[in-house]
């Protein structure tokens, strides 16, 4: 496979995953903004949404003020924002088109029709009523693409690079949500049981699609420690850091077998996975959650760079 192809497949998966994560974040942000609340304004919610998505700086430069309509427009349609859903879908499709030969027909068609349908939407027609529907649509298109990938692609390097892209992006996203949203909620955690609090914790879990699965796993109320455990160390939760690294190490191991050679990236991924495997939530809290998550984000980025170097993404 060409190095350029591997690079495009990796980023194609990242963009699709990012579109889905952004849609989820917006959905949660929007629900919270709709809530009646005392004191603190909805600004905080949009701030944490934008920060989780890594878009705060870009947004402030463009709009300067937190206004719901602007946030939604910036995150959905603004092509000057590289993480907007419009940009993600366009970039995913551009990469897919450049690597049309690596994709199956089902994958390409799901990508192409998602882009065509999204391009046909006129931003002014998106009202508060139609927003949830649109965000649902984004998630369903991402799921359709992933489904087409899982169901139709050969289990070779095409598949492995796609998997790697998906789970590096997902790990990054979950880590950022933890770092921003979770952190933001912690100080008020003594007020456990207050209605608002519960609602906020539910919203946090919702942003990683885990508000119901939490109950199934823990059969308990929302508790900060358990929520963090669920998002970081739980191997059942498909968006936890641990799950992402289970998938990443598997895909990288398969790549090493496929090519008959191991590189630094395999070792780095395994080391991070071992860390998640052996870690204990109370220890993490003692030595600082923020530091832990920051360290994780750094490791995850390093892994991305090592993969790019090992497989000649851009020689």
């Amino acid at each position: 496979m060409l190095g350029r192809t591997a690079n495009d497949l990796y980023w194609l998966s990242r963009y699709i995953e990012r579109a889905e994560n952004i849609a989820r974040l917006l959905e949660v942000g929007y629900r919270i903004v709709l809530l009646p609340r005392e004191g603190e304004s909805f600004h905080e919610e949009w701030r944490s949404t934008l920060e989780s998505a890594g878009c705060m700086q870009g947004y402030m430069q463009r709009h300067g003020e937190l206004i719901s309509q602007n946030v939604i427009d910036y995150m959905l349609f603004d092509t000057s924002n590289p993480s907007s859903i419009a940009s993600c879908l366009a970039n995913a499709r551009r990469n897919g088109r450049a690597q049309r030969t690596a994709l199956t027909r089902e994958m390409w068609e799901s990508l192409n029709s998602a882009w065509l349908e999204f391009s046909a939407i006129r931003p002014v027609t998106v009202t508060s009523n139609s927003l949830p529907e649109l965000l649902d649509w984004v998630r369903s298109r991402s799921a359709l693409y992933r489904g087409a990938l899982l169901n139709t692609i050969l289990r070779n390097d095409t598949y492995y690079f796609s998997q790697v892209g998906t789970f590096i992006e997902r790990a990054d996203s979950t880590a950022r949500i933890l770092d921003v949203k979770y952190y933001h909620l912690l100080p008020s955690s003594e007020m456990v049981g207050s209605e608002k609090d519960n609602y906020q914790w539910a919203a946090l879990l919702r942003s990683v699609s885990a508000h119901r699965s939490y109950r199934w796993v823990f059969k308990d109320h929302y508790r900060p420690l358990k929520i963090a455990d669920f998002m970081i160390l739980n191997r059942q939760m498909p968006r936890s850091l641990r799950s992402c690294y289970d998938e990443l190490t598997a895909a990288l191991r398969d790549l090493a077998v496929f090519y008959g050679a191991r590189h630094d990236c395999q070792m780095t991924a395994e080391a991070t996975r071992d860390l998640l495997l052996e870690a204990d939530m109370s220890n993490i809290f003692q030595s600082g959650l923020h530091e832990f998550v920051q360290d994780f984000i750094g490791r995850n980025n390093k892994l991305g760079n090592e993969i790019s170097a090992a497989y000649h993404f851009s020689d």
Partner: protein, 471 residues
């Protein structure tokens, strides 16, 4: 002008045999149903991303070539004759290429004016003495045919460089089988779907000798912004070979290599879809960003096969076209099975005089033009257009050839208000390697505007599925 020959109804009267089943079916279809099927076809094409870019069009981006749902049908007997004629022609074209890049017997015999070759920009002196595997220069040829009567098929032009359109032939068939399975059960249509397989076999058969392993094949595209990018990726995908851009290739230690996830890997056969000029900036256009520096040296030393060979374009040059019958006779000793269209080379004074006197009746083309650009269709032009063209022609006569305005055959086509006859041509695709492989069918291009004779997709033309019937 006499009414055109219609593929379904001949010159009027009874429905021609190959069209009987279709005519019967068409007789009971509602126009609305046909329109709905047509809309469905468009959705299918758009979803699969079969688009092309139009050069010079502002809104360009990606557009669909219109597809007409009514097929063009060729009987087994008609096809047999076309097959013989095409094979004879493509073998002769390759013999001609070998000759002019070696001993130039045909020039010595005085069959073609020497300066037409030596002073032609499509002739590459760098190719003299190069021996491509199996002596094949043009491995993939599209032969453009027109029809004016029951037995009158003529070759309008040959495409010996990088002919395109074969992906439409394949996708048109896929779409038709999806939309009209019942029509295929009423007609025994020969399949075309093994084209990618035949192409792969052809490419493998011309790999350099003495390889240790199976040849590695790659398809070189100028990139996503090229008008035929869809086709490039489609073919690479169907063959299971890498689709490379020039930045993916590099010449190291006298071999062509591509940059893979496992490092550099040798390429043995390069099916290139970039023009000669852009192939190697060290030898041809030094400003080219599309090429691979040094590739021509690797080619000349026989360590990579370039398909089609550089310099193959001299065989489809419009100035050479009128000599093709002589070329066929020179190399085969037989007369051509498929006729040429009568052609006036404006470089010859007598021809120029005739052309200037009959501009309103003729089609005048630029020798190096393609895609329907820069041509005059006399009967469809205004006086002013004709006079403007006359001035260009007088200023530079060697740049033009002229042909009579042919009454191209028509075929029933779904038009705005009804099913109506529209003019068309046919481009069969033929592969030349260890053997000659011809797909039964090809790309039928149809002029969608009433009365129009220009079938090019860049000028409002569409395509049809082309059926060759089983015996």
């Amino acid at each position: 002008m006499v009414a055109a020959f219609d593929e379904m109804n001949g010159f009027g009267g009874e429905v021609r045999a190959p069209y009987r089943a279709l005519a019967e079916w068409l007789g009971v279809q509602h126009l609305d149903t046909l329109r709905q099927k047509s809309a469905e076809a468009e959705v299918l094409f758009r979803r699969s991303g079969i688009t092309f870019a139009v050069y010079g069009a502002e809104e360009a981006g990606e557009r669909l070539i219109p597809f007409d749902i009514l097929p063009r049908i060729i009987s087994a007997e008609e096809w047999r004759r076309l097959e013989l004629g095409i094979e004879q022609r493509v073998r002769s074209l390759n013999a001609f290429l070998y000759d002019i890049y070696h001993r130039q017997e045909i020039l010595k015999a005085g069959k073609i004016p020497e300066e037409l070759i030596t002073q032609n920009s499509a002739f590459l002196p760098e190719m003299i003495g190069v021996d491509p595997p199996r002596g094949v220069y043009s491995h993939i040829i599209g032969v453009d045919l027109v029809r004016t009567g029951e037995n009158d098929f003529m070759v309008l032009e040959d495409n010996t460089r990088t002919p395109s359109g074969v992906s439409y032939m394949l996708e048109n068939r896929e779409t038709m089988m999806h939309l009209f399975p019942d029509l295929f059960s009423r007609n025994r249509v020969r399949p075309v779907e093994n084209y990618p397989d035949a192409l792969l076999k052809t490419l493998e058969s011309v790999a350099p000798g003495n390889l240790d392993a199976e040849p590695t094949i790659a398809l070189l595209t100028p990139g996503v912004y090229n008008s035929a990018y869809f086709e490039h990726s489609f073919l690479a995908d169907q063959m299971g070979v890498e689709l490379v851009e020039s930045t993916d290739l590099v010449v190291i230690d006298g071999l062509l290599r591509m940059k893979t996830t496992e490092g550099l890997k040798r390429v043995d056969v390069l099916y290139r879809r970039v023009d000669d000029d852009f192939l190697d900036p060290l030898v041809f256009d030094p400003t080219s960003l599309l090429g691979v520096p040094g590739i021509f040296d690797v080619y000349r030393s026989g360590r990579v096969t370039i398909v089609n060979a550089p310099g193959a374009g001299i065989a489809d040059d419009k100035a050479i076209y009128s000599y093709i019958p002589a070329i066929i006779e020179f190399y085969t000793g037989k007369s051509p099975i498929l006729a040429n269209v009568e052609t006036y080379n404006c470089r010859e004074p007598a021809s120029l005089k005739y052309v200037l006197e009959h501009l309103a009746e003729l089609v005048v083309k630029e020798v190096h033009g393609s895609g329907g650009y820069g041509m005059l269709v006399g009967p469809k032009s205004t006086k002013d257009q004709i006079e403007a063209f006359r001035a260009k022609l007088i200023a530079n006569p060697t740049n033009y050839i002229a042909q009579p305005t042919l009454s191209l055959s028509t075929c029933p086509t779904l038009a705005d208000s009804s099913v109506a006859p529209r003019h068309l041509d046919l481009r069969p695709f033929v592969l030349i390697g260890d053997q000659v492989r011809l797909m039964p069918g090809g790309l039928t291009r149809v002029a969608l505007k009433k009365g129009s004779l220009v079938v090019n997709s860049s000028q409002g033309g569409g395509t049809k599925d082309t059926w060759v019937l089983q015996e």
